[in-house]
């Protein structure tokens, strides 16, 4: 028999694995797989603490469903102009907020270091993500991921997802 504590630990590990897989997909430029981390009708949003805390609905990116996520990646590959750069996501403190039969919600902190092709590096983003995962399958999938950036400022542009 697994104790309640063990179950909690196991759930926490499953979330950490899901977040790590997600971050590796982005950081290793396998962006075509990005939407596969979400359920088919999963939602993805990036906003700022300023908007989030004031209840303002505007987001930097709003994707309702995998099709909109795929469009983002097709545009990034074929249409949008930007200097080549890569991210290194660094996950931070994870906290489970809600557990139910079929989903789990968590809140976690992160930073992203952006490295440009000439070697220039900066802390591009820092904040929290509010994630709700579908727990019914073998791997956790995002039902919803809301990235809330601490800063209102985006340096230059935001094209690769967070």
């Amino acid at each position: 028999m697994t104790s309640a504590f063990d179950q909690k630990l196991l759930l926490r590990l499953r979330i950490e694995v899901a977040l790590a897989d997600y971050m590796h997909t982005i950081d290793s430029d396998r962006l075509e797989d990005w939407s596969s981390h979400f359920t088919k009708d999963g939602r993805y949003r990036v906003t700022t603490r300023e908007n989030y805390d004031h209840g303002l609905p505007l987001c930097l990116i709003t994707c309702e469903g995998g099709a909109m996520m795929n469009d983002r990646i097709i545009a990034l590959r074929t249409a949008n102009i930007y200097e080549p750069h890569v991210y290194c996501h660094v996950p931070g403190a994870l906290r489970i907020t809600t557990v139910s039969e079929s989903f789990v919600s968590s809140e976690s902190t992160f930073i992203v270091v952006r490295t440009m092709s000439d070697g220039a590096m900066d802390v591009f983003a820092c904040g929290r993500s509010f994630d709700t995962f579908d727990t019914t399958g073998d791997n956790l999938m995002f039902r919803e991921r809301t990235v809330v950036l601490d800063s209102r400022q985006i340096h230059t542009l935001l094209v690769i997802p967070l």
Binding site: T47, T48, T62, M68, A75, T78, N80, Q153, I154, L157
Partner: protein, 418 residues
């Protein structure tokens, strides 16, 4: 044209930049620190109306928002009698900022450093230990509080847009903008607005490169390839450019027209890949709500405001210089107060197109930096603006012109006396 050397106190002269020639500018205007300093004084604090914010952001008495005129920090505040004031955010004593939070509500301005107090009309009403302590210290008998109020700006509003100017010489706001371009503001601001949120984009370039970019309707279909890739907008769509009589302000718009087989404007556009279709085209949904077929309208009010309607994405963008090689673009994204939940959702989705992560606007974040970097190589070489000839004139039916960019340089040289 009269040949006159560039007058720019201490900067190198450039004899080939003759007075009245708005088709060129030396690259050093983007990187010269003396020019930058002069712009703060002669342009931003000169005879220009600078956008400060929206009246709905300071709805109640005492509500304030910290904003900018050039680099100067400005407090836009609703006075107790309901009028809007704008004051330089600087205590008259030691010069500390009075409001160090971006927004709030106050009954008076209270400097944290030495507790000097000002009312919301900018008058000095209190000086800590003014009479000293126990008969010792305090200000001298010749100290006149009336001489030490906050520096005030003139304020005028139009359709809820609040503008301020430091100069007594700036004409009235209506005369400054001109009736034709006021009408294009009327076109968008048809009913009470609601702020949907804010974005800020830090641009690695001098503020002028972004100001020009907005007046440059020539680049839209060439740089922002999303348009072509997904078959959204082509240079041969209907539309045109309007320019204020002064040449300082402009409007560029695109109209929805029936499909045609005109191939002009399609050729030589990079990456025209019509095989790409959006898997979810709902971000492009446009509900006509302004009584016409205009899909895109970008309006500039010199020097720091852009009013945007892109489909149902309404926004005002405020351009703030942040040093000679850096600027910040603050987006206030709008809807109407009476938007249905449906309409709000449509606006939020469509906003994927614009902002720092916008499909058709993100490039403007990097392209100014490309110019900034290369401009330094040879600061006296000239950038040229030959598209559409020499004139600063409106253009009906074509946006392939740099007329409005030349209008920018006319405004700039007039303010700068260069």
């Amino acid at each position: 044209l009269q040949e006159e050397p560039v007058r720019s106190s201490g900067t190198e002269t450039n004899p080939s930049w003759s007075v009245g020639d708005f088709t060129r500018a030396p690259f050093r205007v983007y990187s010269d620190v003396e020019i930058y300093a002069l712009e703060q004084e002669r342009l931003f604090q000169g005879p220009t109306w600078n956008f400060l914010g929206l009246d709905i952001e300071i709805a109640g008495p005492g509500d304030y928002k910290v904003t900018y005129v050039g680099e100067a920090s400005i407090i836009m505040v609703r006075a107790l009698d309901g009028r809007i004031n704008a004051v330089l955010n600087r205590c008259a004593h030691k010069g500390a900022v009075l409001c160090y939070k971006p927004r709030g509500n106050v009954r008076e301005f209270n400097c944290v450093y030495h507790n000097w107090v000002y009312n919301l009309d900018g008058a000095l009403t209190g000086v800590a230990f003014r009479k000293g302590v126990g008969g010792k210290g305090g200000v001298g008998p010749d100290f006149d509080a009336a001489q030490h109020g906050l520096r005030m700006l003139r304020v005028e509003t139009y359709k809820g847009l609040v503008f301020g100017t430091f100069s007594g010489e700036t004409p009235s706001l209506n005369d400054y903008i001109g009736s034709e371009l006021l009408a294009s503001i009327d076109r968008v601001f048809i009913k009470p607005l609601k702020v949907l949120g804010y974005h800020s984009q830090v641009l690695p370039n001098n503020w002028k490169l972004y100001a020009e970019n907005n007046k440059d309707s020539y680049h839209a279909s060439l740089l922002h390839v999303f348009h072509n890739t997904f078959g959204v907008v082509r240079p041969n769509m209907g539309g045109g450019i309007k320019i204020s009589p002064s040449g300082w302000h402009h409007l560029s718009y695109t109209e929805r027209t029936p499909p045609n087989n005109d191939e002009t404007g399609r050729e030589k556009v990079r990456s025209l890949r019509e095989q790409y279709k959006l898997q979810d085209p709902s971000i492009m949904e446009h509900r006509l709500e302004l009584g016409d077929l205009i899909t895109n309208s970008i309006q500039t009010i010199f020097p720091n405001l852009i009013v945007q309607q892109i489909l149902n994405c309404l926004a005002v963008r405020q351009l703030v210089p942040r040093g000679v090689e850096r600027s910040e673009l603050i987006w206030t994204v709008l809807g109407f107060e009476d938007d249905t939940p449906d309409m709000l959702e449509l606006r939020l989705k469509a906003n994927n197109l614009v902002g720092p992560a916008g499909f058709i606007s993100m490039e403007d974040g990097c392209v100014g930096g490309f110019v900034q970097r290369a401009a330094k190589a040879d600061p006296n070489a000239m950038t040229i603006m030959p598209m559409g000839g020499h004139a600063i004139e409106p253009s009906e039916g074509s946006r392939v012109t740099e007329a409005a960019v030349r209008g920018f340089w006319k405004a700039w040289r007039s303010c700068m006396e260069i």
